[in-house]
């Protein structure tokens, strides 16, 4: 790439020619405030918070979209610039519902941060404001338009990245809001509950439906045996809420905190991920051998499932009938574990801790109760757990409890990497190759399916068959991949799809990193590292070698794909109309 040389605040910088002024400033360690900007997702120059003076240019320019040029002179800190930014910010604040004290983003809000940085001490304008109704009908996402600053990041995420496109800017001028069509609630449109809009919102205008009250109630109820089950991605990100560097695995701190909160047992969903691999691997081989519907597509991601039900009903038979690990685990705990521990399943209350807002919808699906009880009682996000830990005043640096509880305490490295894009595929390949095909393979690391490329492919040669596999993360990529399959341009045996870009580590329920952090690192890769490190260090790295899994099949299910397994661990799907009349 051709380089250009420019000066920013008299500092000489050399950057590639396709950089923006903002990128060049970043390189020079000069921070320009931004608000609507989110790298690769929303680069539309809408808010004008990032204005700078450029020598020779008539007016101030938005650094986030202004391209660099050779010999350019940029000034980011002149009286004119500071004044313009302040006015912009004050105008935004003038009709913002500024109730920071009671806001979910208090302390982690990009607008609040800007007000602090820019020394706003006096709000000169008090704008016209009408109180707009809260949309809290969705099981996953709550919209509060009174806090919206119209940055449009959520629109870009939903429309361009996820290609779900159920929210957009509506009306004009002072009436403008971001909303689903016709004033409908998110629960009435084909929103897939992925929560990606929440993780890009700079303010408190989008948040998860908070279910912590139900958890507190259960914990306070002595009649209940309250169990926490944590997804693999939680340990890779929960630490961020407590000041740990991004990518620090905090498994022991998390288990300790959950115990301190009063959970009777803390189990690892990775165990159920191993179970999923056994079931799904069997399903894959059966389909290949018996001429079943191919490609087989993974079904762990409830956002993806709902997307498929709305947009690709023709692929419903391709979906694995396996429940997600969360649901499998719930069914298992209310049968096998209840029996073993001698506890009435009606008294077992299971709280799943998930990186995902779509899990809140999944637990409510009417078919998820094959044991006679709801598989999972409440699903909360990583963020909600962090809030509970803070509210209870627990010291998160305490890492005394190192191990998940027995008898479901073992998980393999394969289960751990479920949390990253490509992880389910890699875990499946490890097991399919060995057990189900009887080939012993040296190879454990399928690096071709790792990484944050939107669509990844791998071909694996087994004893009797070659498996062609593909991985897509983010629903826009899923759409691309499925359209190719539909058009007959690609023939895979096995496809892994996760709704969230990056997979669960960057799920819609994970800690929110502001644009000034997220724009300049590969958040997916940083968090995924925590999982791949744990995988590498675990003694058992293949699902079928997990002793808990072996015992489960020996004592309870018989074999993968058995009748009992089908009853408890498998499910079905429903085509959904997009906008019913």
């Amino acid at each position: 790439m051709e380089m250009v040389t420019l000066t920013i605040d008299n500092k000489v910088v050399q950057v590639p020619k396709d950089y923006t002024v903002l990128q060049a400033a970043k390189e020079a360690n000069i921070e320009i405030p931004t608000l609507c900007f989110l790298k690769n997702i929303n680069e539309i120059g809408a808010c004008r918070m990032c204005v700078v003076e450029i020598k020779g240019a008539k007016s101030l320019q938005a650094a986030c979209v202004y391209p660099v040029a050779d010999g350019m002179e940029v000034y980011t800190n002149t009286p004119k610039v500071r004044e313009a930014r302040k006015v912009t910010l004050e105008l935004i604040l003038s009709n913002h519902d500024k109730n920071c004290l009671a806001c979910v983003r208090n302390g982690n809000c990009e607008l609040q941060k800007l007000a602090e940085q820019m020394n706003i001490r006096d709000l000169e304008f008090e704008g016209e404001r009408h109180k707009l109704p809260l949309d809290d009908f969705s099981p996953s996402v709550v919209r509060d338009p009174n806090k919206c600053i119209l940055c449009r990041r959520c629109v870009s995420m939903c429309k361009e990245v996820q290609t779900v496109a159920v929210i957009d800017t509506v009306e004009r001028g002072i009436e403008t809001i971001v909303s689903p069509v016709n004033g409908k609630s998110l629960s009435e449109v084909p929103c897939v509950n992925c929560g990606q809009c929440i993780t890009v919102c700079p303010v408190g205008a989008l948040r998860e439906k908070d279910d912590t009250e139900k958890v507190w109630d259960a914990l306070a109820n002595d009649d209940l045996h309250v169990v926490a089950v944590t997804a693999p991605a939680i340990r890779a990100a929960l630490g961020e809420e407590f000041g740990f560097p991004i990518g620090t695995p905090v498994t022991a701190n998390m288990i300790t905190a959950l115990k301190r909160l009063g959970f009777d047992k803390v189990f690892d969903v990775d165990t159920a991920a191993d179970l999923t691999i056994m079931e799904e691997g069997t399903e894959l081989l059966n389909r290949i051998k018996n001429g079943g519907k191919l490609p087989l597509i993974t079904s762990c991601s409830p956002g993806w499932i709902k997307f498929c039900e709305h947009n690709y009903p023709e692929f419903l038979d391709n979906l694995s009938t396996c429940k997600s690990p969360q649901q499998m685990f719930g069914a298992l705990l209310k049968t096998y574990y209840a029996e073993k521990a001698g506890i009435d399943p009606a008294k077992i209350f299971i709280v799943s801790i998930m990186p995902c807002t779509a899990k809140k919808f999944e637990v409510k699906r009417p078919e998820m109760n094959s044991s006679g009880y709801p598989d999972i009682d409440v699903a909360i996000t990583t963020r909600e757990l962090a809030r509970m830990i803070k509210e209870a005043g627990i010291d998160f640096s305490d890492a005394t409890e190192k191990h998940f509880d027995d008898p479901m305490g073992d998980a393999s490295g394969a289960g751990v990497i479920f949390g990253a894009t490509g992880g389910v595929m890699e875990a499946a390949l490890r097991t399919v190759a060995e057990v189900l095909e009887g080939t012993s393979l040296e190879k454990l690391d399928y690096t071709e399916v790792r990484g944050t490329e939107g669509i990844k492919e791998a071909t694996v040669q087994l004893n009797s068959i070659t498996i062609k596999a593909a991985v897509a993360h983010g629903l826009g990529n899923a759409r691309k991949l499925l359209d190719r399959v539909k058009a007959g341009e690609a023939d895979y045996h096995f496809i892994e799809i996760m709704a969230c870009p990056g997979g669960c580590v960057t799920g819609g329920g994970q800690p929110i990193q502001p644009s000034r952090v997220r724009s300049w690192i590969n958040l997916m890769a940083e968090r995924a590292k925590a999982l791949y490190t744990e995988d590498k260090n675990l003694p058992i790295r293949k699902s079928h070698e997990n002793p808990t899994i072996k015992k489960l099949y020996a004592e309870f299910f018989g074999s993968p794909g058995s009748h009992k397994a089908h009853e408890l661990l498998h499910t079905h799907y429903t085509a959904r109309e997009n906008y019913p009349e």
Partner: protein, 164 residues
């Protein structure tokens, strides 16, 4: 879409026409605005079903189409009356009491802004400055401009159209 707003069952030839409109613009850049225009001419407004059809056929998200419709004042989401009353709420008209005029229309017709009377005769809208500030307050009924209007005159004007 076999019911018209008067509630009688009629054979709807508009659906075919809508398809023709869409076919005419399909594949051209910026097809949405002209399609919406012609669809509105056809139906008098842009019903939800029509938006949905356009969304499916042009492969443009419904939320985006809805955003466009609500952005441009020329598009309407609700049926318009045979007589389309527009009360200017621009600054000049507002200062000269356009608010009271609007209230009077609401009261006599029994509808809100954006609404349409049950007989389909009148619809009522508030609009931005129509550029006749010298005549403030101004009301437009279809293409006729009424200037320097007083609330007391509203009743008479409505009567005139009722009897037409």
């Amino acid at each position: 879409m076999s019911k018209c707003s008067c509630g009688q069952e009629v054979k709807d030839t508009r659906e075919e026409k809508l398809e023709e409109i869409i076919a005419k613009y399909r594949g051209t850049k910026g097809a949405l605005i002209p399609v919406l225009h012609e669809a509105q001419e056809l139906y008098g407004y842009l019903p939800f079903d029509v938006q949905r059809k356009i969304s499916e056929e042009l492969n443009i998200p419904l939320a985006e189409i809805y955003g466009v419709i609500t952005f441009y004042t020329q598009f309407s989401l609700v049926p318009k009356g045979e007589y389309r009353i527009q009360v200017c709420l621009g600054t000049a008209c507002y200062v000269k009491g356009a608010g009271h005029i609007l209230d009077k229309f609401k009261e006599i017709l029994g509808i809100d802004v954006g609404g349409c009377t049950e007989d389909g005769k009148f619809s009522l809208d508030a609009c931005r400055c129509v550029g006749a500030c010298g005549l403030a307050p101004v009301v437009m009924i279809n293409d006729t401009v009424y200037g320097r209007l007083k609330p007391t005159e509203v009743e008479g004007i409505i009567e005139k159209y009722r009897n037409e």
